[in-house]
């Protein structure tokens, strides 16, 4: 009985959690004149896709989605690769100043990106990379959190395994790619999901660097939809937000199990 009651409380609070998102989608599906009613409407009557149809009239949505995807994939692949290499070095190799360098890296973890944007902007100008998608993924190839996180993860993998491999005459790369990384797969998945999610939702960085419409990412395009002079109607904005949110929610539903398992592992290993 007590259990049932608790279940009910949990389910109700779960409903409360997703209520704003449900409202977002309902509003996006409503006719403009029926949107934003009080009492709030929880079923769009009649449902319509007209707001969604208007989104591509306002921003090159498909192009932006492609840019976001491209940047997210490159960033994720790159960050996983460099983090694995660096994490291995910081955990398994011995070289002078290793721990000092690592603590400097750790310190970098707590520096907000808002403070590093200007120096990087100046560098990108030198490289003639401003207003290119390269400016977004290039600095993201090295991910300090990723190094820190994978190092913790790798340190939990028994050294006896590498020693056995060394006996067999294996080099560092062989050990890393054939012994360590396969065992670190949950950690890699977790990191990959994190980096992908962060990149897909990243607003600040692309906002500063990208200026041509055909190079913008979705969150930037989304915000550009909402301007004072010539922005679209609010319902269209809601439709656009839905279009940004929906793919990632669907992905989550599909990969829920490994997703949650991976994220959970971040807390256990680190």
């Amino acid at each position: 009985m007590k259990g049932k009651l608790l279940d009910l409380v949990l389910v109700l609070s779960g409903l409360l959690m997703i209520a704003p998102l449900v409202w977002l989608i309902v509003t996006a599906l409503s006719e403009p004149i029926n949107a934003f009613q009080l009492p709030p409407q929880w079923i769009p009557r009649p449902p319509t896709l007209q707001n969604f149809q208007q989104v591509p009239d306002l921003i090159p949505f498909a192009r932006m989605a492609w840019n976001s995807l491209q940047i997210a994939v490159l960033t994720t692949a790159g960050a996983l690769f460099t983090s694995a290499l660096a994490a291995y070095a910081f955990n398994r190799l011995r070289f002078p100043g290793r721990d000092q360098i690592f603590s400097v890296l750790l310190a970098a973890l707590v520096v907000p990106v808002q403070l590093t944007v200007v120096p990087i902007f100046i560098m990108m100008r030198w490289l003639h990379l401003v207003d290119s998608t390269v400016a977004i993924w290039l600095p993201a190839l090295v991910n300090v959190f990723g190094i820190f996180f994978l190092r913790q993860y790798i340190s939990s993998i028994p050294r006896e395994l590498d020693e056995a491999a060394i006996m067999d005459g294996a080099g560092h790369f062989w050990i890393l790619f054939r012994v360590i990384l396969p065992l670190a797969r949950p950690g890699l998945t977790a990191l990959g999901i994190f980096v992908f999610e962060a990149s897909w939702n990243n607003f600040f960085w692309p906002y500063i660097f990208l200026s041509s419409p055909e190079k913008m990412t979705l969150p930037v395009g989304l915000v550009s939809l909402q301007g004072a002079m010539g922005g679209g109607p609010a319902v269209v904005l809601f439709a656009a937000i839905t279009l940004v949110v929906l793919p990632i929610l669907v992905l989550f539903l599909i990969f829920q199990r490994s997703f949650i398992a991976s994220i959970a592992s971040t807390g256990l290993r680190a």
Partner: protein, 251 residues
């Protein structure tokens, strides 16, 4: 340590920027706000996250478990830009859903009393999923035999939680605390998008203040001094956490 507006030549200022910093009331306000936000954030994330994890961890139907876990995790996947926009509509004092259902007229984001707590709630809504999942995983590592043994020894539920669950979970809780604290201390997006630091600086965070000084009023030297302070504070607090952590985290 310079007076510099990004355009002209920097001028050496010695410790001027730091002196100004100590006497600048807006800075002190921002530091206080950030600490309040970070502490409240850690307490609510860990406390309520733990309750949730305990609730979900009990045996319940798979459907319920799936739903609750999904519902609480969803918001974490939505970008701040979208979260802030949705919530500004939800919290509108006259036309918003929140006041409609609460039968209230509170101006959540514009009241000096409510603005900061409101942001804490919205931030909680956005990131609790992550904390919750980590804690839930930690909970699942507690061996059932330990619980059984304690039960046989006559320990009640509360005592079992205190003497078995908590110690075994302590590394997870520790990790969650550190991550939540670092994230909360750098908070920037919701302030900028939802309140612009207002009303009258009631929700301005350190990072936001640094950003305003550096990129809106061109006091780059001052902004640099501020970020240095921010950096040192985070390092000290994180260091302290690790120090304390060593004491109570079960190895």
């Amino acid at each position: 340590m310079f007076h510099w507006d990004l355009l002209s030549t920097p001028e050496f200022a010695g410790l001027d920027n730091f002196k100004q910093l100590v006497s600048d009331r807006a800075t002190i306000r921002a530091v206080v706000n950030t600490f309040v936000f970070a502490l409240a954030s850690v307490v609510t994330h860990i406390g309520l996250g733990m309750l949730l994890a305990l609730g979900v961890h009990r045996t319940m139907t798979r459907g319920t478990k799936y739903f609750v876990r999904t519902a609480f995790f969803f918001p974490f996947l939505v970008s701040w830009a979208a979260v802030a926009l949705i919530w500004k509509y939800v919290l509108d004092p006259a036309f918003g859903l929140a006041n409609y259902y609460l039968s209230s007229t509170t101006n959540w984001l514009a009241s000096p009393t409510w603005a900061l707590p409101t942001l804490i709630v919205v931030d909680w809504w956005h990131t609790i999923g992550y904390t919750f999942i980590i804690l839930l995983a930690g909970l699942q590592t507690v061996p059932a035999q330990l619980h059984e043994a304690a039960r046989v020894d006559g320990a009640n539920a509360w005592w079992r939680f205190w003497s078995v669950t908590l110690p075994v979970m302590s590394p997870t809780i520790f990790f969650a605390t550190v991550i939540t604290f670092i994230g909360a201390f750098q908070i920037f997006d919701p302030m900028v998008i939802m309140t612009q630091g207002g009303p009258d600086g009631a929700t301005r965070s350190i990072v936001q203040y640094t950003y305003e000084k550096g990129f809106q009023s061109f006091e780059v030297g001052y902004a640099a001094a501020l970020s240095l302070v921010l950096f040192v504070v985070i390092m000290i607090v994180t260091g302290l956490q690790f120090r304390l952590g060593r004491r109570w985290v079960h190895q």
